[in-house]
């Protein structure tokens, strides 16, 4: 009874970043408890079944994250249990921090991943697939010879190894030029090609996105292409980010982390009288409807989930800045999202392209793909940001057979109704039906719109440049760490950002725990002495040398 309820770290919120951190703590040997007031894993990045989603929409608490939620109807759909609707859908680049963490932690063995099949862009009033490789460009019959040469020259430049800042193409103030302008002037690309590259290959958000950051992002994606297949992006099966967060929680639980879901925190008490002779932990937490109190030395929480109202003294809070390069200097912090369920397939291949190679009326249907609408591409649409449509089909195991979910998202900077903003895009997407036998547009079975606000307005601006955490306290030790929220756009970045931030939080926490324990001067077993180190050659048994301990090779080897 004495040792239960005593933890080294308590993690609040089961979003992706916190789940990765919890798994890392557990695998490194700390005693961890992981709390979430929801009954499901994933927090704001959760994947919900259809009924859970309706529940969430109708009973949305005054969460600071989500607002203006609307749904078309709350009638249950057939096979509603087979849906896994993502609140913050994302894709994973095939080479990047999240994939590395998934493999190194062993979580990748829990679930499957599917390659995104196609990326398409809407330009000049039609949908075109986006060429991503030399072979694509060679075969594409819609690009002129000269454009092919210029596009290839740009792609070779973009995937080079050298630092972009050192290249002559970026001399002068070019690094800060808007990316689309940069492409047009330095590489002589036309407007359409420049927009395709900026919005559909590099996933820029607005016309003012800077060249240097866009190039760096593009290079990450180009390097992901070919690793597991043609496309650079993967999507986790059974519900992308929510399922992945759950996978990390599962790994944490296997390594000894305790999970308490569905209970709100009713109080956090700071134990005042810990001094050198006592071994009292720093905090005692009580949860509603939970008999025991739990204690810990360190609290790690997402900013949005932290019950700040419960704790008066904020002197010991350390906000970890985002370690992931931001998409631009000014990121709009609100995303308008749309979810739409349909029962007919879409096709990104225009009838012109397919008639030369295929017989018959039907075009190749799409299972999983991304369609990008550059700014101002729709006359009734947004002019200041791109709209992304992620189409997921039964191959992702998050919909029943014969159904697809469309996820629309765009950044906004003024308050608008998400439905008003996204409806034109949804209608345009629904007109891309695969079989031309029916001339009417597809009618969706269910639609829902909402706004999602990234809770990072207060400190991303101050910390994009600095890599040191913002020490907002005097001489006392940090005992509460707040992890940064992942950026919600561009689409492929939130997973990688979560992994990178999780690692930053992990190391800070390890450092903090060391100081806390040192300050208590406790005699504990060497198992809990955990100085952080980057040096590899140490003889001690439990040095934390890496974010993840080496994976034990099990019999089945999928990767």
């Amino acid at each position: 009874m004495d040792n239960e309820g005593i933890f080294d770290v308590i993690v609040i919120g089961t979003g992706l970043t916190e789940s990765i951190t919890a798994a890392a703590f557990a695998k490194a040997g700390f005693k961890v408890a992981h709390l979430d007031e929801n009954v499901y894993y994933g927090g704001d990045e959760a994947s919900l079944s259809f009924e859970e989603y309706i529940n969430w929409a109708t009973h949305a608490k005054d969460s600071t994250q989500f607002s203006s939620i609307s749904i078309s109807s709350s009638d249950a759909l057939p096979n509603s249990r087979q849906y896994s609707i993502s609140l913050s859908p994302s894709v994973i680049p095939a080479a990047g921090p999240l994939i590395s963490s998934l493999v190194a932690s062993g979580v990748s063995r829990y679930g499957g991943f599917r390659l995104v099949e196609q990326v398409a862009v809407y330009s000049n009033h039609e949908v075109k697939t986006v060429p991503g490789s030399k072979e694509d460009i060679f075969k594409d019959k819609t690009i002129s010879l000269l454009d092919k040469r210029r596009l290839m020259r740009f792609l070779v430049f973009a995937s080079g190894d050298e630092d972009f800042e050192a290249r002559t193409e970026l001399e002068g103030a070019k690094a800060d030029m808007p990316f689309v302008e940069f492409l047009k002037t330095t590489f002589s690309l036309d407007q359409e090609m420049a927009e395709t590259i900026a919005y559909a290959l590099s996933h820029c958000v607005s016309p003012s996105d800077k060249a240097l950051s866009a190039l760096r992002r593009l290079r990450r994606y180009l390097r992901s292409a070919g690793r597991y297949g043609h496309s650079p992006f993967l999507i986790g099966q059974y519900g992308s980010s929510g399922e992945i967060a759950q996978g990390f929680c599962r790994t944490a639980a296997v390594a000894g982390c305790v999970y308490i879901l569905g209970k709100e925190i009713s109080s956090i008490t700071r134990n005042r009288n810990f001094d050198e002779s006592h071994s009292t932990p720093t905090y005692t937490l009580t949860l509603s409807d939970f008999p025991e109190t739990i204690t810990c030395d360190l609290i790690v929480s997402s900013e949005s989930r932290f019950p700040a109202g419960l704790l008066g003294n904020i002197g010991d809070i350390l906000r970890i800045p985002s370690a992931f390069p931001a998409a631009g200097e000014e990121i709009p912090f609100t995303i308008a999202r749309g979810v739409c369920i349909i029962d007919q397939p879409l096709s990104f291949v225009s009838s012109q392209e397919s008639s030369s190679s295929e017989e018959g009326d039907s075009r190749p249907t799409l299972d999983t793909g991304i369609l990008v609408f550059p700014p101002s591409s729709l006359s009734t649409g947004a002019a200041s940001s791109a709209v992304t449509v992620l189409v997921v089909g039964e191959g992702t195991m998050s919909v029943p057979k014969g159904k697809w979910i469309l996820y629309l998202s765009t950044s906004i900077d003024t308050a608008v109704s998400p439905e008003q903003l996204l409806k034109p895009y949804l209608d345009m997407t629904l007109s891309l039906y695969a079989t031309s036998s029916s001339d009417t547009s597809i009618i969706p079975l269910f639609t829902s719109f909402y706004l999602q606000t990234t809770f990072s307005s207060s400190y991303t601006t101050s910390s994009t440049k600095s890599s040191r955490p913002d020490h907002s306290f005097g001489s006392s030790l940090p005992t509460i760490l707040l992890s940064p929220a992942p950026p919600n756009s561009p689409l492929p970045d939130s997973g990688d950002a979560a992994a990178v931030n999780a690692e930053a939080v992990f190391w800070e926490a390890v450092k903090a725990l060391k100081s806390i324990k040192a300050s208590k001067k406790l005699q504990k077993t060497s198992k809990e002495q955990v100085p952080p180190t980057v040096v590899r050659e140490e003889e001690e048994l439990v040095e934390i040398e890496s974010f993840w301990p080496p994976v034990v090779n099990e019999e089945d080897d999928e990767e």
Binding site: P97, F138, F547
Partner: protein, 437 residues
């Protein structure tokens, strides 16, 4: 990657000790493997030596049999050896002789087929590890060529039934290997053999589609383009495809490849093949214009420049009456200048193209060659063994040696300066007499 530390968990002393032991164990294992291999080689080669040393006719039948050169045992020994080292072509030869002389005469056609099928599996395994060893491919071809003519299982008594089955399977095998490595010229060459030998030949148009697929997946593939050229030539000569229309389609394909990657050599060589001897002035001029636009986009492209020179010279040669020769010649000279900058390693070649046909160069070349011949023949006469051993030879002929060397050097120097002079004096191209194209 951002902030990731993924170290090898090396624990200092312990690791080092382990690796030394591991190295020792590895060395011992290798030694024993080596010993086994040498013993096996010895065994097989002794058998080979036996049959080759003694002319078969010298031995009576009984004596031959006693020596067991063509025995099953010998066959098994070769199997073992070839599994370890499939590049040992002597042993492949020996194996074939064993089969022909020792095993086949005592087997029924069914048994022969089974033996050959076994050999096909053996070579298949070897090919998976060594896909580029000539001898494995030739052995495979030999097996298929020696399949007895018998009707197959489902063939209405077609006498080449077995062959049909096995050759069709070969096509499948070759396709698998080409999927794994589309640039393996052995596989392509074998593919041609299969297509020739198949009792039921494959349609050439479908072979054309196959090359299209391979080129579309990666056009940096000499063999695929080469195969395409062979198939197209055959289709054109048989009248199955309209040559002019087909050539236009090929130009279109090649233009796309050229503009996508101007550095890819195979594309330019294919283009040159389509142009051929340059009989059509319109096509030549059109292609020159297209390559010229590409050159403007990529001013350093060596292939653009070289192709332009080649095609302009074709114009000069074949259509001199209907073109402006002076402009064309001027263009070529300029391009050759640029080529010398962009591709300095082949400077001399561009000089040579620049003044091939010049009367002056011809004379100098002649001098160069004759002096070389004289030099060599003198030495041939002089350098008989007795003379070299004799000291007197050196005393007598030292001046001759020196003189020969001096003349040779002078001739070479003359050639070099004349080349430079000829290039700037534009002698060779201007008089329009082009030889050595």
């Amino acid at each position: 990657m951002v902030g990731m530390n993924c170290p090898n968990l090396v624990h200092g002393v312990r690791r080092a000790r382990q690796s030394k032991e591991a190295l020792e164990a590895k060395r011992r294992k290798e030694q024993s493997k080596l010993r086994d291999y040498l013993a096996l080689t010895d065994d097989v080669l002794t058998r080979v030596r036996i049959y080759s040393r003694y002319n078969a006719f010298d031995l009576t039948r009984r004596e031959q049999k006693k020596r067991n050169e063509w025995s099953r045992e010998a066959l098994n020994a070769t199997t073992q050896l070839l599994q370890v080292n499939p590049e040992f072509y002597t042993v492949w030869n020996y194996r074939r002789r064993i089969l022909i002389n020792g095993v086949f005469p005592e087997s029924t056609p069914e048994q022969i087929k089974d033996l050959l099928t076994d050999d096909l599996s053996l070579t298949m395994e070897a090919l998976k590890i060594h896909p580029k060893v000539y001898w494995i491919w030739t052995h495979r071809g030999w097996c298929l060529n020696n399949v007895p003519s018998r009707p197959g299982i489902s063939d209405d008594g077609d006498p080449r039934g077995w062959e049909k089955e096995l050759w069709n399977q070969e096509l499948f095998v070759v396709e698998k290997l080409l999927d794994a490595d589309p640039r393996n010229f052995h596989a392509w060459s074998y593919r041609r053999l299969v297509l020739e030998s198949m009792p039921v030949p494959k349609l050439e148009t479908s072979e054309l589609a196959y090359t299209t697929r391979k080129i579309e997946s990666n056009f940096s593939n000499f063999s695929a383009w080469h195969q395409r050229s062979k198939v197209l030539s055959s289709l054109w000569s048989q009248g199955k495809l309209d040559e002019t229309k087909s050539k236009e389609e090929e130009f279109d394909l090649v233009h796309n490849a050229m503009y996508t990657d101007p550095k890819d050599q195979s594309v330019w060589i294919y283009h040159r093949w389509i142009i051929g001897s340059g009989d059509s002035r319109d096509i030549l001029e059109r292609e020159i214009a297209i390559i010229q636009s590409l050159l403007e986009e990529e001013p350093d492209s060596k292939w653009c420049m070289e192709s332009l020179v080649h095609y302009k010279r074709l114009l000069l040669r074949n259509h001199a009456s209907s073109v402006v020769t002076s402009t064309l010649t001027q263009d070529c000279i300029q391009l050759l200048d640029q080529l010398r900058e962009v591709d300095p390693g082949r400077r001399a070649r561009y000089y040579e193209i620049g003044d091939s046909g010049s009367g002056l160069t011809l004379t100098v070349t002649l001098i160069q060659h004759t002096s070389y011949i004289w030099f060599m023949s003198y030495f041939k006469r002089v350098l008989s063994i007795d003379n070299i051993l004799n000291d007197k030879w050196r005393d007598k002929h030292w001046w001759a040696i020196l003189l020969t060397l001096a003349i040779a050097r002078l001739a070479a120097a003359a050639v070099q300066t004349t080349n430079a002079a000829a290039a700037t004096a534009t002698v060779g191209l201007r008089d329009g007499s082009l030889s050595g194209l």
